[in-house]
C-alpha cells in the first residue's frame, strides 16, 4: 500500500511551481520512542515531488521550493506539514496518531481491526506499561484499563489481585492469562514487561466466550514483541531504585509502661509488670528500626534487539529483575530471556517459534510488620552477653511483657527459599494456500521446575518461644503444561460484504509432579547441615502427580456490511477432565452486534464526531476453577479416638465425597457499549454497561447426616449458587499538541456492584473469624464482602449513660460496661444486644475506581503522571486493636493520652483495661470501620531525551521516577490499597498489616543503538 502510494506520487511529479528550489534532507523519528520512522512519505505540498525515508529514517529531496511546505505521513502517526523556510535540513518528530482506529487488536485466536470490534476489549501498549518499574506487568496496568480493578501489594514477587468486571463466583476471581496464545497460570510474574508488545483485556463474554470454560473472569491476552523488517536495533534499559516504607508511630518504652500499668489499675488490679520500673525511652528498643530496613533496592535491566529481512524476522531480549524486601531476609530475582523468530519460507508457508527460558529465585519474604509494631519496647533485642549460649538463635530476648515472639530472632532464623527454572516455547506453522485463508498450528509448552528448601533451627529462648528439634524440608515441584492449537481462518471481502471466519480445535494438558521430604533434629544449625539427610528424627515424605486436560472445538464468524453493520458470533465446546461422564462437555455461545454510526452518510458532512459506534453483546462463559478430582469420592488417612482411651487409632476414612452430577459453572453476560471519537479522534470516549450473572456456581454442600459421612469431609461440590455483577465503565482520553508541547490525558472511571443471588441453603458465607465472630458476611441478595457487626455509638462518658442504655423495661444492654467503654446500638430496640443487632457496616469493594494518566512533553522533556484511586469502599482496620495493649503488646504512640481517661476525654478510643469486660476490642463493630477511599500517585516520572544527530541511530533517555509518591486518603492505616486485599475476594478489606506498597524512587536509562 505504501509502495503504491509512493509510485503514484512519483508518477505525478511533472513540474515545479516554484522558481527558487533547494535540496532538503533530514531524519524522521517517532515521538514516543525516538526511533527512526522507516518508509515515511515526504512530499512537497502541492506537487508530486516525493520520497520515502530509509532504514535510518533519513530522506533527501531535491527541487524543493525554498518557501514551500513538506508533508510527512506514515501510518500510525499524525500527518505533519512543515514550512521549508530556506532550510536545507529538516528533522521531524512524528507524533502517534491519537487513536488509530484501524490498528490491529488481538482477540482470541486471531486479530481484528479496532474499527471492526463488536466486543468490549481494552488495549494497553507495552510502551505504556514499561514507564513503571515492576515485577508484574499487572501492577503497571493499574488504572489504564476501564473495568479492571487491580489491587497491589508490596513485597518481592507479590501478585496483585486482578478483577475484571466484578465477581461472579466464589471459586477464584483471577482472569485467564494467555501469553502468545498459551494459557498460563493465574500469575504472570515470570514475564518481563519489557517484552510485552501489548495487552488486550477481553472483558465481556462476547469477547471471552471463545475461551469457554475459563473465560468467566475475563481474559488477558499478552502479546510479546516480535521482530520487524530492517537493520538490527538494540535497546538497553536500566532502572535502579530504592523502596521505602512509612514508619508507624508506636509508643516508646516509657509510654508503653504507663499504658501497661494503667490497664491493670483501671480494672482495680495490681499490674503484672515484668521489668524495670520507670524505664526511659532511651533504655527501650525501637523494634521497627530493628526489624525493617529503611530502604530496599530494586533493579530492572533489559537488553533487547529486533530486526529482520523479508524472510526472517527476529527479536530477543535478556532481562534481570531484582527486588529486595524491607527486611534483612526476603528477595526475588528473575532472569528472563525471550527469542522470537519468524521465517517466511515463501508467500504461502511461514513458521516461527517463541522461546522464553527463565530463572527465578526467591527467599520467602516474612511479614513481620505486625510483630515489629506489637513487640514490647522495654525488651532488648538480645539477652545479656553473659547469658549467651553456643546456639546463636537462643541468645535473643523473650518479650518481657507480652507473648509476641522476638521479630529480630524470627528474621535471624529464616531459611526458606526457592529456585525455579522455566521454559515457555510456542513453535507454530502457518500456511496461506489461498487468498484470505490461513491455516495455523501451534504447539505450546510451559514447563517449570521448582525446588524449595526450608530450615527451622532448634533454639530455646523461653518455654513459650522455642523449637525443640530443628526441622528441614525440601520440596520439588514440576509443572508441565502443553497446548496444541489448530485454527483455520478465512478473511475476504465481497463488495461491501466483509467476512472473517475462524474454526479451531485445541487440546491442553496440565500436569503437576511433586515430591517432598522432611526430617527433624539435625546435629547442628550450621548451614552445611541444613539438608534433609542431616536430620536424624521423624523422617517424612510425600509425593503425587496431578493431571487435568481440556479438549475444545471453537468457531467464530465476523461479518460486516459496508463497515457499518457488524455481527460477530462465536461458539466453543469444551470438554474437561474435571467433570464426570455426561457432564464433561459444555457449549459456550456468544453473539455481538455493532453499528458504526459514523460511517453512515448522514454523519459525513460534519467534523465533530470522527468515530461513533454502538455495541451490543451477549455470551455465556464458564468456570472450572475447582479441584481436578472434585467429582470423585476419595478415601484418605484419618485417626479417631474410640471409647475412653486417649489413644488415637489410625485408619482410613472418606476424605472427599464426590458428586457424579457435577457440571459447569456458567456466567451469562450482557454488554452495551459505545465508542466515540471527536475532533479528529483527539477526544476518544468509550462507555459500557454490563451485567454478568452466574448460575450453577460450585459450592460445597453438606450431605445428609444420615449418610454417615464425617461432618467436614462429607461436604460435596454442588452446582447450587448464583452471583451477579452489574457495572459501568467510562473512559475518555484527550491528546493534542501545541507547538513543541504535546500532551495526553486519559481518565478512566468504572463501577461495579457484586451480589450473591443464591448460596447453599440460603446460608450466608462468613469470612475472617475474629474472637468467635466473623467480620465479613455474604448473603443472598446482598453485595459481597461486606462487614457485618455491631454499630459502635461512641463511648460511655459516665455511669448515667450506661444506666440510660437500657431496653424499654430497663434491662441494662451492656452490664459489663464502664465509663470509657464502647456503646453498641440496640438496633431492633428489643432490650438485648445480640446477633439481631448486627448490621452491615461497610463494603470492602469500592463503588467506583478512577484512573488518571497524563503525559506531557515539551521538546526533549517528558512528564508522566499516573494516578489511581478507589472510592466508596471501607476498610476493617484491625490495627485499631493497637490502642488496646491487649496481651501486653505495644500501642500506638499517644495512646496513653488518647484513650478515654475521664468524661469528655475521648469518644473513640476506649479506656485502657486489662480485662476488657465490655469486649471493646473483641467485638466486630463499626469501631474498626474506616473509609478506605484513596487517590494515589502511582507514578510520577520526569524524563529527558538527549538530543541526537539526525543520522544517528543512538538515543538516550534519562528518567527519574517516583512510584506511590503520595496518597490522598482519610484512612489511618499504613496502606489503604494493601488493606483492600484482606482475606480474598469474599472477605476483602481487612487490614491486618500486610506488606504495604512501598514508595519507590528510580533512576532510569534507556539507550538505543
Amino acid at each position: 500500500m505504501k509502495k503504491l502510494l509512493f509510485v503514484t506520487i512519483l508518477s505525478l511529479m511533472t513540474f515545479s511551481l516554484f522558481a527558487q528550489q533547494i535540496n532538503v534532507k533530514g531524519r524522521v523519528i517517532g515521538a514516543t520512542d525516538n526511533e527512526a520512522v522507516i518508509g515515511a512519505v515526504v512530499v512537497v505540498v502541492g506537487t508530486n515531488n516525493a520520497t520515502m525515508t530509509d532504514v535510518n529514517g533519513t530522506y533527501s529531496l531535491n527541487g524543493v521550493p525554498a518557501n514551500g511546505q513538506l508533508q510527512f505521513s506514515y501510518s500510525g502517526y499524525k500527518q505533519q506539514v512543515v514550512a521549508v523556510n530556506n532550510r536545507t535540513t529538516i528533522d521531524v518528530t512524528m507524533e502517534d496518531d491519537v487513536q488509530n482506529i484501524d490498528e490491529v487488536v488481538v482477540v482470541g485466536y486471531g486479530t481484528v481491526k479496532r474499527s471492526d470490534l463488536t466486543s468490549s476489549i481494552s488495549t494497553v501498549k507495552g510502551d505504556d506499561l514499561k514507564v513503571t518499574s515492576s515485577g508484574n506487568a499487572m501492577n503497571s496496568l493499574q488504572g489504564k484499563a476501564a473495568g479492571v480493578q487491580i489491587t497491589t501489594a508490596g513485597g518481592p514477587g507479590s501478585t496483585p489481585r486482578v478483577v475484571i468486571r466484578g465477581v461472579t463466583t466464589v471459586n477464584g476471581s483471577d482472569p485467564l492469562y494467555v501469553v502468545d496464545g498459551m494459557p498460563v497460570s493465574g500469575n504472570i510474574n515470570f514475564l518481563s514487561q519489557d517484552d510485552i508488545e501489548s495487552i488486550e483485556i477481553l472483558k465481556d463474554a462476547s469477547a471471552s466466550a471463545i475461551y469457554g470454560t475459563r473465560g468467566s473472569n475475563g481474559v488477558i491476552l499478552v502479546t510479546t514483541k516480535k521482530g520487524s523488517q530492517g537493520a538490527i536495533k538494540f535497546s538497553l534499559s536500566a532502572n535502579v531504585g530504592v523502596q521505602t516504607l512509612e514508619k508507624p508511630n508506636m509508643a516508646k518504652a516509657s509510654e508503653y509502661e504507663k499504658v501497661f500499668k494503667t490497664r491493670y489499675t483501671n480494672d482495680g488490679s495490681v499490674p503484672v509488670w515484668n521489668g524495670k520500673n520507670d524505664i526511659t525511652d532511651a533504655e527501650g528498643t525501637d523494634w521497627w528500626n530493628e526489624v525493617v530496613k529503611p530502604i530496599a533496592l530494586t533493579q530492572d535491566y533489559n537488553l533487547s534487539f529486533t530486526g529482520g529481512t523479508e524472510k526472517l524476522l527476529y527479536s530477543g531480549s535478556i532481562g534481570y529483575y531484582n527486588q529486595d524486601a524491607n527486611f534483612s531476609y526476603g528477595n526475588w530475582q528473575r532472569v528472563t530471556a525471550r527469542f522470537n523468530t519468524v521465517y517466511k519460507v515463501n508467500k504461502i508457508v511461514e513458521f516461527g517459534v517463541d522461546l522464553a527460558p527463565r530463572f527465578e529465585k526467591w527467599n520467602d519474604t516474612p511479614n513481620l510488620f505486625n510483630d515489629a509494631m506489637r513487640m514490647d519496647p522495654t525488651t532488648p533485642v538480645m539477652r545479656p552477653e553473659e547469658e549467651w549460649t553456643d546456639n546463636y538463635f537462643s541468645n535473643f530476648s523473650r518479650s518481657h511483657n507480652s507473648q509476641v515472639w522476638n521479630p529480630v530472632a524470627n528474621l535471624a532464623r529464616l531459611t526458606a527459599n526457592s529456585q525455579e527454572y522455566g521454559l515457555m516455547m510456542n513453535p507454530y506453522i502457518s500456511v496461506k494456500p489461498l487468498k484470505g485463508l490461513t491455516i495455523r498450528s501451534q504447539f505450546g509448552i510451559d514447563a517449570r521446575f521448582r525446588l524449595s528448601d526450608n530450615f527451622t533451627p532448634s533454639f530455646f529462648i523461653d518455654n513459650l518461644e522455642q523449637q525443640q528439634l530443628s526441622y528441614v524440608s525440601r520440596t520439588s515441584n514440576q509443572w508441565v503444561n502443553w497446548n496444541w492449537m489448530n485454527t483455520v481462518n478465512y478473511e475476504n471481502s465481497f463488495g461491501k460484504h466483509n467476512l472473517n471466519l475462524m474454526g479451531g480445535f485445541t487440546m491442553e494438558e496440565f500436569a503437576n509432579y511433586w515430591v517432598s521430604g522432611s526430617r527433624e533434629n539435625t546435629p547442628s544449625n550450621i548451614p552445611n547441615l541444613q539438608f534433609v539427610n542431616a536430620g536424624t528424627l521423624n523422617q517424612k515424605s510425600g509425593g503425587s502427580n496431578g493431571f487435568s486436560s481440556l479438549i475444545s472445538y471453537l468457531a467464530r464468524a465476523m461479518y460486516n456490511y459496508d463497515n457499518r453493520y457488524y455481527i460477530t458470533a462465536s461458539v466453543r465446546v469444551d470438554g474437561s477432565s474435571k467433570f464426570p461422564s455426561g457432564s464433561k462437555y459444555a457449549t459456550f455461545p456468544a453473539v455481538s452486534l455493532a453499528w458504526r454510526i459514523s460511517n453512515e452518510k448522514f454523519m459525513q458532512n460534519q467534523n465533530v464526531v470522527s468515530n461513533l459506534k454502538l455495541r451490543l453483546g451477549w455470551g455465556r462463559v464458564g468456570n472450572q476453577n475447582i479441584d481436578s478430582d472434585a467429582y470423585l469420592t476419595l478415601i484418605g488417612t484419618g485417626d479417631y479416638v474410640f471409647g475412653s482411651s486417649a489413644d488415637r487409632n489410625l485408619g482410613t476414612a472418606v476424605s472427599t465425597v464426590g458428586n457424579s452430577m457435577l457440571r459447569w459453572e456458567t456466567v451469562e453476560d450482557f454488554n452495551i457499549g459505545v465508542d466515540a471519537g471527536f475532533l479528529n479522534n483527539r477526544l476518544n470516549v468509550t462507555a459500557d454497561i454490563y451485567q454478568k450473572t452466574s448460575k450453577d456456581m460450585l459450592l460445597k454442600k453438606a450431605n445428609l447426616s444420615i449418610l454417615g459421612y464425617p461432618m467436614w469431609n462429607g461436604e460435596m461440590w454442588t452446582n447450587i449458587g448464583s452471583m451477579q455483577a452489574r457495572g459501568w465503565e467510562l473512559s475518555a482520553s484527550w491528546r493534542d499538541n501545541v507547538g513543541d508541547f504535546s500532551y495526553q490525558i486519559g481518565l478512566i472511571f468504572s463501577g461495579v456492584e457484586n451480589k450473591a443471588l443464591k448460596l447453599v441453603d440460603g446460608s450466608p458465607i462468613l469470612g475472617w473469624e475474629y474472637y468467635g465472630n466473623y467480620i465479613t458476611r455474604n448473603e443472598e441478595g446482598g453485595q459481597i464482602s461486606r462487614f457485618y457487626g455491631y454499630v459502635a455509638d461512641g463511648l460511655f462518658q459516665n455511669q448515667k449513660e450506661i444506666n440510660a442504655h437500657t431496653g424499654e423495661n430497663g434491662s441494662i444492654l451492656q452490664p459489663n460496661a464502664k465509663p470509657g467503654d464502647i456503646r453498641y446500638v440496640d438496633l431492633n430496640n428489643d432490650g438485648v444486644i445480640d446477633d439481631k443487632d448486627k448490621t452491615y457496616l461497610g463494603n470492602a469493594l469500592p463503588k467506583f475506581t478512577v484512573g488518571l494518566n497524563a503525559n506531557f512533553a515539551y521538546k526533549n522533556f517528558e512528564l508522566i503522571a499516573n494516578f489511581y484511586g478507589t472510592f466508596g469502599n471501607q476498610v476493617f482496620n484491625l490495627t485499631n486493636n493497637l490502642y488496646s495493649g491487649e496481651g501486653g503488646v505495644n500501642v500506638f504512640a499517644g495512646t496513653y493520652d488518647k484513650a478515654w481517661n475521664g468524661e469528655g476525654t475521648s469518644n473513640f478510643i476506649p479506656r485502657l483495661s486489662v480485662n476488657d469486660a465490655n469486649k471493646n476490642y473483641q467485638t466486630v463493630s463499626s469501631f474498626y470501620i474506616e473509609d478506605g477511599s484513596y487517590f494515589r500517585c502511582k507514578l510520577l516520572q520526569i524524563a529527558y531525551n538527549i538530543p541526537r544527530k539526525p543520522a544517528s541511530k543512538v538515543g538516550l533517555r534519562v528518567s527519574l521516577s517516583a512510584q506511590n509518591l503520595f496518597t490522598i486518603t482519610n484512612y489511618s492505616g499504613m496502606d489503604p490499597e494493601r488493606a483492600q486485599m484482606g482475606g480474598g475476594i469474599m472477605s476483602a478489606g481487612i487490614d491486618n498489616v500486610g506488606y504495604p506498597n512501598p514508595r519507590t524512587f528510580l533512576l532510569g536509562l534507556n539507550f538505543t543503538f
Binding site: 518455654n463 485417626d639 475412653s644 455511669q799 448515667k800 444506666n803 423495661n809 486489662v914
Partner: protein
Amino acid sequence: MKRKLLSNFGLLGLLFSLLVLSGCKKDSDYPVVNDKNPEISLSSSHIRTEAGREFVIKGYVEDLNGISSIRLFNDQLDLDKTIDLLKIYDELVTKYDLNYKFKTPKTQQGDNFVIEITVTDVLGRVTTSQLTVSMDGDFDPPFFTSGPGSNVIVLIKADTKFKLSFSVEDKKELDYVEISIEELSYVQRETVSGRTFSFLDQIDLPSQEQELNLTIVAYDKAGLSVERKTVIKVSDLPDFAKMYIVDVQTIEELNSSLFGIPQLIERTGAFQYRARYYSEKAGTEVRFIPQKTDFSPICFGVDADDETVLADDPEVSQPIVLEQVGYYEINFDTKQGTYSVAPYTPSDIPLPIGEPMSLNPSDPDAPSIPFQIALIGAGLPGVGNWSPSNPFILTLSEQNPFLFFAEMELEAGTEIEFTIGPKHDWGWWPEPFWRFEGTGGQNSGENEYNVKNGGDNMKKVTVRKDGKYIFKFDTHLLRSRFYQVN
C-alpha cells in the same frame, strides 16, 4: 424562553418546599385529638428498696394525642433515661404501661431519692410526676449459717440426747425463731433482736428407734422467714454410706466453704472407712462425721478415755493429730471403734508442670507451650468465659507436687462453675482434665470428688459473701475444696 426558565425555577422551588416540609415529621404533623396533657398514674408513689437491689417503676401513662417519650430522672441515682416510644414503636402509642427496672449500685450513698417522671406527648405537652425511692427495704429472708442437715442420726444411749445447735442471720433485723419437734411436743419460741442469733439446747429423746421431725423457722422484722426441716433418726449405730473427714474445729468453719469441707472419704466395707488426707501443717487435727453440716450428733474421734479406740460422741471424741506434713492414711471401723494412722508417699507421677505441651500432638510442626493446669469456666474473675486460652491458672504448691491452688477475690452472688484442665492457646480442651461428682442438682454445689478425664459437670456454686477465696486441688487424692480465707 425567559418565561419558561422562570416557571422552571418556580416548579423547582415548590418541589423543594414540599421536600423540606415532608422531609421530617414535626409536632404539627400529628392530629390534635384533645387538648389534655399526658396523664401519669403510678402504681406506687413510694418504693422501698436497698443499695444494690433492683426496683421497678410501674405506672400507667395515657395521652390520646400520642405519647412521644417518658423521661426518668434522678441525678444522684445516675438515672437519666428517656424511653423514646416514637423510636421503639411503629404505631403511635396512646396508652402505655410503664414498667422500668433500675438497679442501684451496692455503694449507693443516701437514703431517699425523688425520681422525676416526665411524659411528653407528640404535641409537645408535658406532664411531670414524682416517685420517692428509699433505701430502707428488706428483701432477704434470714438464713442459717449453721445447723443440722436434713437427716441426722442420734445413737441410742441409756440417756439419749440430741444436741441442737444452729445459728441464723438476717441482713436487717431478726424478729423471732420457732423450734418444734412435733412428735415430742417440743415447741420453743425465741424472740430475737439484732441481726444474728445462736441456739443451743440438749433435747432429751426416747431411747428407742424412731424418726422425729424437727422444724426450725426464723422470721425477720419484715415478716420474711426461713425454714429448715430435719429428720432425726434415733437408732443404733448404722452403717453410714458416706463419711467425711473434717479438719476444722467450729461449726462456722464447717459451713463456710463453697464445697470441699468436710471432705468425702472412702468406704471400704461395712462400717469400715479409709481416709486419705494431706496434712498441710504439722499437728493437723482431724475427725470424721457422717453428717456434713454439724459435728453433732455423731463425730468420730479418739476416745478421750481410751486412745486406742474411737468414740462417736462429739462431746467425748478427740481429734486425731497428724504430727507431720504429708499424706496420711487413716483406716477405721465405726462398729469396732478400731483405727490406724500411717503416713505414706504417693506413687503417682506428678503432672509435668512447665514442660512443653504441643498445641497439636498430631502435628509435629505445631508450637508448644508450657504445660499448666487451670480452672476453665464461668464466674472466675479476670479471665475468659469457658476459655482454655485464658483460664485461671492453678499454682503448684512448693511443698507438694500434687497440690494446686488458686486465690481469688469474689463478690457475693457470683455463680461459679468450671472444669480443671490444661491451658491451651488455641482454645482446645486436651487431656488430662478433671471434672466433679457429687449428689444434688446442677446448682447444689455438691462437688464431693474429682474424676480424671471423666466425671460430671461441676455443680454450680454461688458465693455468699464478698471476700478472698482459695481453691485447692489434689491430683493424688482427687479432692478439691473451695473456701473463704478472709
